[in-house]
Amino acid sequence: MTNDTAPAIDVAHLTKRYDDVLAVDDISFTVRMGELFAFVGPNGAGKTTTVEIIDTIRRPTSGTVRLLGMDVTKRKHDILPRIGVLPQGFTSFDRITVAETIQYYSRLFSRRNTDVQGLIRLVNLEDKSEEQFQNLSGGLKQRLGIAVALVNDPEVVFLDEPTTGLDPRARREVWEVLLGLKKKGKTVFITTHYMEEAELLADTVAIIAKGRIIAMGSPEEIIQANAKYLVLTLKCADETALEIVRTMGFEPVQDDHRNITVNVAHSSDVRKILNALTDAEASFLTLDVRNPSLEAVFLELTRRSVTGQPS
């Protein structure tokens, strides 16, 4: 997809050092206007440090970061009214209610017409509207934080691990909110360690490990570029198929439900396996062939990063 407009976020050779620790090591990337960008990586990889530099919470050691065309270290005052931020582990004033918290933050942006009830409905906190912050569960606090990040109708929204601590249903509700923001044309930048979340939501994913970006692109591009195999899954009634695949020189893995999973290099290997099973009259109930998941790719890439192998 070509895009002639300036990027929403432009990071060039960003480095952040804390004494002896190199938290972010010379990373560069851009985020297009209107896209949903996911920064994924294990804990301690540098995701939060990176996003906090971009959203002006921290200052870089070196490199440049431009947000909506403005240098984040020099134009913070012009940038802030146009962005919304959900920091990691959002917290607020303990004795202020949900509605009052949203009103307070909207006043900080000098916005008198914020649809407080609309934001409360957006994050499904209607029945907690008059509850004090300290009485909310972790997941509800997180949802309030998302609402607070939207009080100023921002062009770019930063959400640092927005679904951490949420139950599956709440997580899906947040996903719908994020996709809704994208449909409205907002640029959304999330950090997450949930690969499923990145694969489902993001237009572009950047995988970071030990402060360096080790892969970047759409989820499909990353998978295609880094996983040179297919995953064949067979649901079997007995052990016959397992033995046949094993004797063919593959390394199948069987789970507790007798599903066999085997990684194959080529689609022709799938045909070979199916032919062998057919010839042996071995039965199987279902068959599935797909590219590996982003999580599988991520695990492989980060393993290589830790052991120092090339990507």
Binding site: Y18, E52, D55, T56, I57, R58, R59, H77, L80, P81, I83, V85, P87, G89, F90, T91, S92, F93, D94, R95, I96, E100, Y104, Y105, R107, L108, F109, S110, Q132, G145, V148
Partner: protein
């Protein structure tokens, strides 16, 4: 600087305050309790009388007259000690801090001194060397015994003077520098107001900078248009509002219960504002030194409590040893106490001006240092 932002912060701060019952208690009820307790204790300070235990070993009309004289002095309530028992043992067992023992032979010595013959004094029979030694059995560890002994000595001195028959050489007259007689409670109230402003401002600054930062609230606020100046100024205004509420409550209770007579003018809000800046500045510096909220609050307590007692908030500086008085005079709360007393009790504008200037300079320095050393952004 945005009035809307400052107003939003004030609303949140005040709501947080009155929804936290312990904060309301310590802010308003605690100084009122101090006023009520100390005011009641020292309410009749001018009319205080001491209990004096007397063992009359002489058991004569003359010794009984001496005891009556001490009683009529008005400063002693006399308790008689049985002449048959050991006075020292009595003092230990009954935990009495002073026993006056009138010896056997008191009346005989008195007759000789006055030269009484048939009850009539005669110069021919007067023996000016006749004397009697009373004994003080006392507990040196008691804080009030020296005052009691001084009063007793003064009373016995008056008896000796009366016996000489001559008028005193040096007389004394009293002229008060004050237009009216003030009570201890009027001394105490300005000190409580100053102390209350200090505790509220210092702990408020620690909460603002350390606790909220540690929780992550400051991190979120730094992604909004609120500036550090807006944040600090709104918190200063909040502390001033709390201080005015506290001072108002203290004064209302003092007027209602003790009928205090204090002058309320522009000096009171002036000192409140100066103290808020001074102690908020100290609080900000503290949070730079002690990064954890718990250690910053411990540091605040380590500053507040000694300062309360050393600065003359609760009792006059003159009651303290000389070296502590010197220490007091370098503490900002001392000038808050002295300035408020000068303004509210003595109507002494010059002293109030001097004290306000000293606190003002101190406040300006610590406040600017505090602003410069506290961070709005996360680690550089």
């Amino acid at each position: 600087m945005s009035p809307d932002v400052i107003g939003a912060n004030l609303v949140v701060s005040l709501k947080s305050f009155y929804r936290e019952k312990s904060a309301v208690f310590f802010m308003i009820a605690f100084p009122i309790i101090l006023i009520l307790v100390f005011g009641t204790i020292f309410m009749n300070q001018d009319d205080v009388s001491f209990e004096l235990h007397v063992q009359d070993l002489d058991q004569t009309t003359s010794s009984a007259q001496l005891v009556k004289t001490l009683e009529l002095d008005g400063r002693f309530k006399i308790a008689q000690v049985d002449p048959a028992i050991d006075a020292t043992r009595y003092a230990k067992d009954k935990q009495v801090n002073l026993v006056l023992v009138i010896p056997t032979g008191y009346q005989r010595a008195l007759v000789q001194r006055l030269g009484l013959v048939g009850g009539v004094p005669s110069a021919a029979f007067r023996n000016s060397n006749a004397s009697v030694a009373v004994t003080y059995i006392y507990d040196a560890s008691s804080s009030s015994v020296s005052q009691k002994m001084q009063i007793l000595q003064s009373a016995l001195g008056a008896v000796n003077q009366g016996m000489s028959g001559e008028p005193p050489f040096i007389r004394s007259a009293e002229t008060s520098i004050l237009a009216k007689k003030f009570r201890f409670i009027e001394f105490f109230v300005p000190g409580i107001i100053a102390m209350s402003v200090m505790t509220s401002s210092l702990s408020g600054a620690v909460n603002m900078n350390a606790e909220l930062r540690q929780k992550g609230v400051i991190r979120k606020l730094s992604t909004t248009p609120i500036t550090h100046s807006d944040w600090v100024l709104s918190n200063i205004l909040y502390q001033v509002i709390l201080a005015v509420m506290s001072a108002t409550a203290i004064l209302l209770v003092s007027y209602a219960v003790f009928n205090v007579s204090l002058r309320i003018d522009a000096w009171l809000p002036a000192f409140i504002v100066l103290e808020v800046f001074a102690f908020a500045g100290i609080g900000m510096i503290l949070t730079r030194v002690a990064k954890e909220a718990e250690s910053a609050m411990a540091g605040a307590n380590a500053i507040m409590y000694p300062m309360m007692f050393l600065s003359g908030s609760f009792f006059p500086l003159e009651m303290m040893p000389g070296f502590l008085q010197k220490i007091a005079r370098i503490l900002p709360l001392y000038y808050g106490n002295e300035g408020l007393r000068a303004a509210m009790v003595f109507a002494d504008n010059m002293t109030a001006l001097r004290c306000s200037a000293i606190i003002g300079v101190f406040a300006a320095v610590v406040f600017v240092v505090g602003i410069m050393t506290t961070k709005w952004e996360e680690g550089k």
